[in-house]
C-alpha cells in the first residue's frame, strides 16, 4: 500500500533556529496538508496546499511558517525561527480530492525545541 513518508522522524533544535520538515506524499495525490499535535492535545490543522499554492491556513500558521513543493514530489514545512511552543508532532497528509474525507497521514516528525 502506498504511504506518506516524513523526515526526519525526530529533530531537536535550539530556539531561534530554522527547521525544515519534509514529506513525500503519495504520487497521485493533489491536495496536501500539514497538521501538528502538541503532546497530549488534539490534532490541529495548519495549512492546506493545492496547485502549488496555499489554499487555506489556520491562525497558527503565521509568518514564521512556510510551505512549498519545489520539485513536484517533496512537500516541505519550514519554520523560520523556532519557539519553544513549536515543539510538537508534525503530520503531513495528502488526498486525491476534496469530495472525500480520506486523507493519508504520514507517521509524523517530532520536533523538540530547546
Amino acid at each position: 500500500e502506498p504511504e506518506v513518508t516524513q523526515t526526519p522522524s525526530h529533530q531537536v533544535t535550539q530556539m531561534g533556529q530554522e527547521v525544515i520538515l519534509r514529506c513525500v506524499p503519495i504520487s497521485n495525490h493533489l491536495y496536501f496538508y500539514w497538521y501538528r499535535q502538541i503532546l497530549g492535545q488534539k490534532v490541529e490543522f495548519l495549512v492546506s496546499f493545492y496547485n502549488n499554492e496555499i489554499s487555506e491556513k489556520s491562525e497558527i500558521f503565521d509568518d514564521q511558517f512556510s510551505v512549498e513543493r519545489p520539485d513536484g514530489s517533496n512537500f516541505t514545512l519550514k519554520i523560520r525561527s523556532t519557539k519553544l511552543e513549536d515543539s510538537a508532532m508534525y503530520f503531513c497528509a495528502g488526498g486525491a480530492g476534496t469530495n472525500t474525507g480520506e486523507l493519508f497521514f504520514g507517521e509524523g516528525s517530532r520536533l523538540t525545541v530547546l
Binding site: 496538508y33 497538521y35 490541529e44 490543522f45 487555506e56 497528509a93 472525500t100 474525507g101 509524523g108
Partner: protein, 110 residues
C-alpha cells in the same frame, strides 16, 4: 463548521462489539462524516466515511440516521490492538480540510 460531541473515553473487552456515537447537530448539507483512528505517536488513519444510512467496510460499520445529526461507528469483535483514539469528523465537501476534536479514547481490556 459542524461541532461534534463524542464521549471522552470508553472501555471494552476483547471480542465485544463497540459502538461509539458522535453528535453533530449542525452538520451542513454537503458535509460528509468520517472517522479516524490514532495510535500514540502515529498519524491518524482513515477508517470509514459516509453521508447517510449505513456504510460497511472490512474494518467497521458506520450508521448515520436520516437527520444526520449523529453517527455511530461500530467496531465488531474488538481486540487489544484496537485500543486507540477515535475521531468523528465532518468534512467540508469543498475543502477536504479535517478539524479534529478530542476524540474518544477506547481502551480494550483482555
Amino acid at each position: 463548521l459542524a461541532k461534534t460531541t463524542q464521549p471522552i473515553s470508553m472501555d471494552s473487552y476483547e471480542g465485544q462489539e463497540v459502538n461509539i456515537t458522535c453528535s453533530h447537530n449542525n452538520i451542513a448539507t454537503n458535509d460528509y462524516i468520517t472517522w479516524y483512528q490514532q495510535f500514540p505517536s502515529q498519524g491518524p488513519r482513515f477508517i470509514i466515511q459516509g453521508y447517510k444510512t449505513k456504510v460497511t467496510n472490512e474494518v467497521a460499520s458506520l450508521f448515520i440516521p436520516a437527520d444526520r445529526k449523529s453517527s455511530t461507528l461500530s467496531l465488531p469483535r474488538v481486540s487489544l490492538s484496537d485500543t486507540a483514539v477515535y475521531y468523528c469528523l465532518p468534512v467540508q465537501g469543498n475543502t477536504g480540510k479535517l478539524i479534529f476534536g478530542q476524540g474518544t479514547t477506547l481502551q480494550v481490556k483482555p
